[in-house]
């Protein structure tokens, strides 16, 4: 049997039909005439769009903009501040690579876990929570804290292992998880200037939540939403489906990523997520407090809760917006990275200044690594 991954690549990446799809997109665009704004909602979609140059294929009235698809970008600085302190006190901080260089609060020194490690702090970078469990088991005489960032996709690794009691007693979880439907609701209801005509819903978040989680967008806001895969052809198809809906005067929810996403999602993962986490109003860096948008460990799991173990408390006022940084506006689709005066000047992938340049899902980082900087008006 041929490798399914190669078959998907052949079908979705190297498929000459892309040019025909673009032609139909242009036909629809010329009939619709009005300006159409479509937001992607996942850093990996933004990567696909930027890396494959899909924006350059769009007609003038079709605009693809990046939305809040980067969890590291919105993770509050006070978590980093607390973890830096713990790492210097001898607690081993375990983090995904994406958050290693994430800046702490304003004026902090060291300013990231990377700098803390350079100063002798204990920091371990891992690929997954399972790796963190292994580190904690291999070093049983130390205390370890896992910086658990991410949207719904990174939650089941933590919830499944906690639920089945597979987390060792010396590993504490700092839950910085943020949820995607609440921020989408916030964006649609509260943010002026991002009036959308279409949404590319995040593919892998939808694998967990189910495509049904997005029903509220067409229903409450009249905006067509397509659950989309990550190959360039997936994105082009989704754009085409949105334009078709607009032309025919419908607002609907469609699932283009049926090979991975079910309407009801992953029930096994959702069960342990709901058993382990509780949902609270939470602060998003650069954005503010969003109703019911954060996940904390339930009291049943406080034995492994870093907030309880180390008394980590949210400050009354946040001081993690870095002077001059436009990350908050970039995340909400109000500004392009190239419209930030710091972009590729003091803020680069090698030496990120703001959170959107840190993670590989950050819009600034994606643009920095994939766009020729001389191109204007992208």
């Amino acid at each position: 049997m041929s490798d399914l991954r190669l078959r998907i690549k052949e079908l979705y990446e190297r498929n000459p039909k892309a040019s025909e799809i673009v032609k139909i997109i242009r036909d629809y665009a010329s009939i619709i005439k009005k300006h159409v704004k479509i937001m992607d909602f996942c850093g990996t979609h933004e990567w696909t769009i930027t890396y494959y140059g899909l924006r350059s294929l769009m007609p003038n009235n079709i605009e693809l903009i990046a939305g809040p698809g980067c969890p590291v970008c919105v993770t509050p600085g006070y978590y980093v501040e607390a973890l830096i302190k713990l790492s210097l006190e001898g607690v081993n901080v375990i983090t995904y690579g994406d958050a290693f260089k994430l800046p702490s609060v304003r004026g902090s020194n060291p300013k990231s876990l990377a700098e803390a490690k350079a100063l002798g702090g204990k920091v371990t970078v891992v690929y997954s929570f399972l790796d963190a469990v292994k580190v904690a088991k291999e070093r049983p005489n130390e205390e370890h804290v896992f910086f658990s960032v991410g949207f719904e996709t990174t939650m089941p690794a933590v919830s499944t292992t906690l639920y089945y009691r597979a987390v060792p007693h010396n590993l504490y979880v700092l839950s910085a998880h943020r949820l995607t439907p609440p921020i989408m609701k916030y964006l649609m209801s509260n943010v002026k200037g991002v009036e959308l005509d279409g949404v590319l819903a995040p593919g892998h978040v939808s694998a967990i939540l189910g495509s049904n989680a997005w029903e509220f967008i067409p229903k409450d806001y009249g905006v067509t939403t397509v659950v989309t895969g990550f190959e360039p052809l997936d994105v082009l198809l989704a754009v085409l489906l949105i334009l078709k809906s607009i032309k025919e005067g419908r607002a609907e929810l469609l699932n283009e990523y049926r090979r991975v996403v079910k309407p009801e999602g992953n029930l096994t993962a959702k069960k342990t997520i709901n058993e382990v986490f509780t949902y609270v109003d939470s602060y998003w860096r650069g954005i503010g407090v969003v109703e019911g948008s954060g996940a904390k460990l339930k009291a049943t799991y406080e034995r492994n809760d870093a907030e309880v173990r180390y008394g980590i408390k949210e400050p009354k006022t946040h001081s993690d917006i870095i002077p001059g940084c436009r990350c908050g506006e970039v995340v909400l689709g109000l500004r392009k990275p190239t419209e930030c005066p710091l972009f590729m000047k003091v803020c680069t992938p090698e030496n990120p200044y703001g959170p959107c340049m840190v993670s590989s899902e950050g819009t600034c980082r994606i643009w920095a690594e994939n766009l020729p900087l001389s191109v204007e008006g992208i």
């Binding site: 799809i21 929570f129 089941p156 690794a157 489906l241 049926r258 992953n266």
Partner: protein
């Protein structure tokens, strides 16, 4: 971190109720946890996200999705202006 990658399942096993798999991530062999509704066997493909198998890829749907395009293409030839 937040990147989902299609991976081939090489081996599956359980510890208590927790299901594990060894997967091939583009040539790299990696141990992951499985949180899936359906059973997974050697040779299946799953989406691995930060060390966790979150979805089994439905082989029969792979080409099915492109049929959406086929339909749109056929209609697209006759878009009413």
């Amino acid at each position: 971190m937040c990147l989902g990658v299609p991976a081939k399942v090489l081996r599956v096993w359980s510890v208590g109720e927790l299901r594990y798999a060894e997967v091939d991530l583009g040539g790299l062999s990696k141990e992951v946890i499985l949180a899936l509704d359906e059973p997974v066997n050697e040779g299946d493909y799953v989406i691995v996200h930060a060390g966790m198998g979150i979805s089994k890829i439905k082989e029969e749907e792979v080409e099915e999705t492109l049929k959406i395009w086929e339909d749109l293409y056929n209609q697209g030839l006759h878009i009413e202006q």
